[in-house]
Symmetry: C2
Subunit: 279 residues, 2 copies
Amino acid sequence: MKIYIIGIGLIGGSMALDIKSIYDDARIFGIDANEKHLDEAIQLGLIDEKASENDLINADLIIVSVPVDVGLVILPNILDKIGEQTLVFDVGSTKSPICEAIANHPKRRNFLACHPIAGTEFSGPKAAVKGLFEGKTNIICEVEKTTFKLQEKAMDLFKKLGMRIRYMDPKSHDKHIAYVSHLSHISSFMLGKTVIEKEKDEQDIFDMAGSGFESTVRLAKSSPAMWTPIFKQNKKQVVKSLEEYIHNLSNFKKLLEEDNYDEVFNEMQNTNRIKEILK
Amino acid sequence: MKIYIIGIGLIGGSMALDIKSIYDDARIFGIDANEKHLDEAIQLGLIDEKASENDLINADLIIVSVPVDVGLVILPNILDKIGEQTLVFDVGSTKSPICEAIANHPKRRNFLACHPIAGTEFSGPKAAVKGLFEGKTNIICEVEKTTFKLQEKAMDLFKKLGMRIRYMDPKSHDKHIAYVSHLSHISSFMLGKTVIEKEKDEQDIFDMAGSGFESTVRLAKSSPAMWTPIFKQNKKQVVKSLEEYIHNLSNFKKLLEEDNYDEVFNEMQNTNRIKEILK
């Protein structure tokens, strides 16, 4: 089984690690714009060898795990080069643009649009970890547009990775994910920015920061190269979620300014419901 | 050694657990407005017996671990009742109001104003855990106003709890902590609110929420009864930090609306510095 992973970072690299232990006959080829990352991926045992896009005709499976702007550009070219039986799936955090980009491609039925909700704040081949996808959700869009046989092939892999599957149309995906993922990243980045701006003496931050701050600001360590194109592609939904977030923060500030602590209490108590939701 | 803990919740209860394993001769008495919490604290082995404020004359050490509005009211009464050698310290998340409240009390020198930067999003006696304070920072305010002998007694305990000590004046404490703790809680609560409002079908949140969202929204599980008086007491600093946070979020939204993705990238890259600061 020949597997080509395009983009050997946190997600591609972690997939590689798991695939190696799942399929005895897996041979993993890596393609990456960053030559250093490819060398690291070989050293770390993520891939067996480097490859180029011209080899894709030989692929049984191609995983596209690159920033979402790059994915838009390369996916049509990839589909141009594959064989009839090749399965291609992506792992990007936006789904409408990529589904639109290949909607009329002759090889549309070889492609499965995926978003495994898994990751950490780290990036690059060194961030790859085994078992990253165990128990996580994989959102699949427009499943009906993929050949059934290749759907089955993908499902076999996702099942062995330990993932739960949810089907969703691309627009719904992009709307919901703006709230539960994209907005969290912005809230975290801007919290980090606000504190760094204030605290010129960084030692003070370090000494006073408890686990609460660390948890809330964790996503501010994420890769700007990965996140900028996500925000760009999901601009409309992200801006809308940001507007609502800013509205809620402004209202909370107003309640404080008006000394309306009963309502301050209620705002928090109503939100405590997140405990049950996320349990 | 007779230790009275007033408020047997996450912090008071966790202190009780550690103190029991540190001092062989420790006998721990619990005082709490919530009778059910006192019963739980006995069942959980946090305290040896219930007590009342009238017993405080016998105390070697009194730990005041109640919501900060309650602390303001009861601390003067506690100081009225103690003996010459009794050490009293608090653990509240605001320091100016409590230091002002007892500034002219005849027993001021028996009191040490503390803020151990430790905790979780849970509350009540059941939230108590062993080793909570290990490796954490304890901020001490106005140390010079406490009798040296009682300072030593407190330092001995904090050292055995594994805490690092930082000295700070109350105003600086309240200013810095607004940014690294109080603001994080509001950012998290309002993120939770924004997502709950949007996602009427809660199963969607659960299925799509990754570890990133869970981490960013974790503090929204915190106790409103504990946090409302903190925001009230530190209103000025909290409102200021919120203003700056909202300003940064609005600016980020503006950059997205203007399609200024170079600056969107820069905003995130500059904030990535939090990696080194928090390492």
